[in-house]
């Protein structure tokens, strides 16, 4: 369980996260909100790239913000980025293996763990192919394999489906839905594709201008009047309500 309380992040005069408090339960959680709502800033706080002005994050009883950034991977934090981060010069296997190397698990089961993660995302046939020869959809799957290898505890996925065609998004959704079952990790999914979010996430939280405006079961959250207004803008929402 991830307990976020009173998280505030300021960049100069801009408040990106404004007293964000929320609790993420085990399973796959959606984190949605319009552009600039603070979703990626929240991920960056969890990764240690942004220091919050106030607030705390307790992950499975550990103070996440107290850890040095690169040690958080060792603790079990994984994330993907909006920009593609699979390492082009390395094979799919090496891409995934390097995450395993820097986790706290020994090398004894490395090969089977890495091949297992590659199999979960369905890239066995290209396991020893260099990433720079793969297509965009496959590269995203490499990133997901990197996120789920080596017993992660918390997986953050930042817009994994952005720019993918529908068929590849569908496969990605299947893989994401399998993460809790395969790894036991709590997953937080940020995406603008609402059908992906509602098909993957039992619970969702909504950020708007750095404030948590709703959280709870995904279906209810997506029907919430404040959420509709945040997404469509004030006037349009009034029209919908009328």
């Amino acid at each position: 369980m991830i307990e976020v309380s009173d998280l505030t992040v300021r960049f100069g005069g801009v408040t990106s996260l404004d007293g964000m408090s929320v609790r993420f339960e085990p399973g796959t959680n959606g984190l949605i909100g319009p552009n600039g709502a603070g979703k990626t800033t929240f991920f960056n706080v969890l990764s240690g790239f942004v220091k919050p002005a106030t607030g705390s994050v307790t992950a499975f009883g550990d103070d996440l913000l107290g850890m040095v950034h690169f040690r958080r991977a060792r603790w079990g934090l994984r994330r993907s980025f909006q920009t593609e981060q699979a390492i082009e010069e390395l094979s799919v296997y090496d891409n995934v293996a390097m995450i395993h190397e820097h986790s706290k698990i020994g090398s004894a089961d490395r090969r089977s763990d890495v091949e297992g993660a590659i199999a979960i995302v369905g890239l066995e046939s290209v396991a020893y192919t260099r990433v720079n020869t793969l297509g965009a959809g496959q590269r995203r799957l490499v990133e997901v394999a990197r996120a789920i290898v080596g017993k992660p505890r918390l997986v953050l996925l930042d817009e994994p489906a952005a720019g993918l065609p529908d068929a590849e998004t569908a496969h990605l959704g299947e893989v994401i839905r399998g993460i809790p079952e395969h790894t036991g990790a709590l997953t937080i999914l940020v995406d603008h594709d609402m059908s992906l979010v509602s098909s993957c996430c039992s619970n969702a939280a909504v950020l708007d201008f750095g404030k948590m405006i709703a959280s709870g079961p995904t279906a209810e959250v997506l029907r919430d009047e404040r959420v509709v207004r945040a997404y469509l803008g004030g006037e349009a929402a009034e029209g919908v309500a009328a």
Partner: protein
Amino acid sequence: MSTTEQIASPPEQGKTVQAPSRFPRSYAIRAVVIIALLLFVVLALPSLLSLYYVDALTQVAVYSIVALGLGVLVGRLGLVSLGQAAVLAIGAWVAARLLFGTGLPYEVVLLASGIITMVLGTLVGLPALRMRGLYLALITLMLAGAITVVLASLNFPNGGHGFSGYNGALVHIPPIRRPGIATSDPAFFRYSVIVAAVMFVLVVAHLRTKPGRAWAAIRQSEPAALAAGVNTTLYKLWAFALVSFITGVAGGVLAGAVRYLYSIDFQTQDSITLLAVVLMGGAYSIWGAIVAALFLQLLPALLNSWGLSPDWLTILFGIGVLQVLTTAPRGVVEQMPKDLAKLGRLIARGFGRTTSKEVA
């Protein structure tokens, strides 16, 4: 029904689906080719060439190590250092001092100059922890300038006493000692090729394992590397330490190769030329380092023997870098096979045309 058939059919229609293997047969072929090439260079080459070219190729061996190191920094980590010639000078200085001052075996001296240069060269790399790109290039260039100034006032050891080992009043300067098994020029050439091969193996061993993967992650994106659990500070310093070590060893070989070292021979701008040839050869490639060293040391020797001034090379390297940056970002090593393949297709097409005409 029809869709499942469509999905199922491609693997059957295609070639045989190969079971993924970590060590394909091409690795074994490559290993055999490399060993054969190495044996040819060490055993046969010196007897085929005049001493003039043997000496030039000894320099190629030395500078292939230096180029390999710079290639690791630029190609694998994306860190541009313009101080590598100065790091080489440190290695040469330390080795010369130890060779004059002690009776240590040459190999021990190489190891020592590698380790001492590693410590000093890692200091040159410290700015890289906070910056990259143009600023890092500028800072390393200025550090290289500082080292050049210090070496110019300190002078290279020439058999004198004291810390500097330099005696300006010496009339008969003794040559720098060579290893007992390699006193002649051809023998020293063989020796330097073997040292270079060992350094290449050391670097390849790094690139193929955990540090190499961590460096690739850093090059791709530092935030992503951190998120992957890579201690980027440690691995960047590790890279500078490794590169400084091999460059220091190269300096030790250089000392024995030229036998008389003068600070005038180590110029700050050499580091810039070095970067140019490394980019031309291919910073990402192991072979690129050898090509870079051939550009840097064999081309001047060739021009000299043809009665042309090697100064023309500055212009040639300038054009070469421009060409590489615009059309072949992976350097000559990766571009050549592509161009040759293109040429081959062109020739094949030409032949095809003539034969079809003949038929007609």
